[in-house]
Amino acid sequence: MKLSTKHLLGIKDLTREDIQLILSTAGQFKEVLQRPVKKVPSLRDVTIVNLFYENSTRTRMSFELAERRLSADVLNFAASSSSAAKGETLLDTVNNILSMKVDMVVMRHSASGAPHFLAKHIPAAIVNAGDGINEHPTQALLDAFSMQEKFGSLEGLKVAIIGDIMHSRVALSNMYLLQKMGAEVVVAGPPTLIPKHITEALNVRVEYNLRKALEWCDVANVLRIQLERQNQPLFSSLREYNLAYGISRRVLDQLGKEIVVMHPGPINRGVELDSDVADGPYSIILNQVENGVAVRMAALYLLANREN
């Protein structure tokens, strides 16, 4: 058994079997991370470059840790402190890096489709660490892993994705993944932040009322309001957003049932999530971060295979 794809560009390209293979392998890596020596020699002949054209804390550190735990050699590249600032093109930069014998590229870029473009032009395996408003596959995989860990299975699970659906690559990857695995998805948020025709395009239900979405779901995956991606005001103020769509402990306590709250980070505290929820018993946000390393180890391990 192996992955049906040479790259991890998006969940859209993966089969259900691919997703199951990544999640089950991640489970074994999670056990590795509990050992006295949290490291295996699997990728000691592999060199990986982390190419970050956009800022990141969690994802970059999580990928780097995953690579080191697999014994890979790691190169880090941040666009802001490199020749990209002098105007070098993406393809030139990557070809120069590859001439130094690099086997895999982990890339984050603000342009949707940038990793797909690279995959067409270079021989190395590419892992998408987030491209524009398109996909963030490893985030969706670690979200799925965390949900599976909590509930046992994704089949029939009711997941509400709440917030800025329009600008969120996490939302899109999650929707693809959850549907492939047989979960039910509802997207919730203000009408200005939910793309038109999403029901027809992605077969998800839209709910504009936060309380109704929360009453329906088992899991609320709360997204960050991405102020940096909005060129125009799509809601009148952060305070108003918080009043209509912010999740507080009071709202959750009134539901009459327990739901799990997730967030891909970084959290805008007091906007989409109040602190008493983010740090409270409903939240599995820090489990998500912990699982991120195991899931990324699984993806890198499975892609490093030369048979692919």
Binding site: E31, V37, K39, S42, D45, A304, E307
Partner: protein, 173 residues
């Protein structure tokens, strides 16, 4: 196809291995048994059962080790990882590794590397059901052997277990 061990022979061999392990580790204090995933675990389950029946006091520390991430051919062919479960410390313990067939010795090499990442055992020994002699690629030998056989590369030793294959037997194909 040639039968190497029938079901009754296999049962006797497993019993003998259990007795030999007890003979060398009479008190079983400081001794732990670890079966190798995936197929060595069927043998180790049986051995642990036998040993446990012979020892009245306490239960024997028993774990399972998966060596997938330690293989030397990890990038040539993809192997699916299995569960590792070693719920005790192996520090200063006498570890007995258990696998079904010893062939090139590469699995055991990987197992030793994996094992040492869990701590520093005082001693490691190896127990196998079938030893395919003259086919080693590394200097590794068993301490407890069910049966030694001479084979050529094109032959395949198949160990079947009731729990998995519906029948207990060892055949040469």
């Amino acid at each position: 196809m040639k039968t190497i061990l029938t079901a009754p022979q296999l049962a006797i061999t497993v019993k003998r291995l259990a007795h030999q392990i007890l003979e060398n580790n009479p008190t079983l204090t400081d001794t732990v048994l670890i079966g190798l995933q995936p197929r060595g675990v069927f043998l180790s389950n049986r051995i642990v059962q036998e040993v446990q029946a012979l020892v009245t006091s306490g239960s024997i520390p028993y774990g399972q080790l998966d060596i997938t991430f330690y293989r030397d051919d990890v990038r040539k062919s993809l192997h699916i990882a299995n569960k590792t479960d070693i719920p005790f410390s192996i520090e200063n313990k006498r570890v007995i590794l258990i696998d079904d067939v010893l062939y090139t010795g590469r699995t055991i090499r990987a197992a030793l590397d994996a094992l040492l990442d869990f701590g520093r055992p005082s001693q490691v020994s190896l127990c196998v059901l079938i030893d395919r002699r003259f086919s080693r690629e590394l200097p590794i030998q068993p301490d407890y052997t069910g049966k030694t056989i001479d084979t050529i590369i094109s032959q395949k030793v198949k160990v079947c277990w009731q729990e998995r294959d519906g029948v207990d037997e060892v055949v040469l194909e």
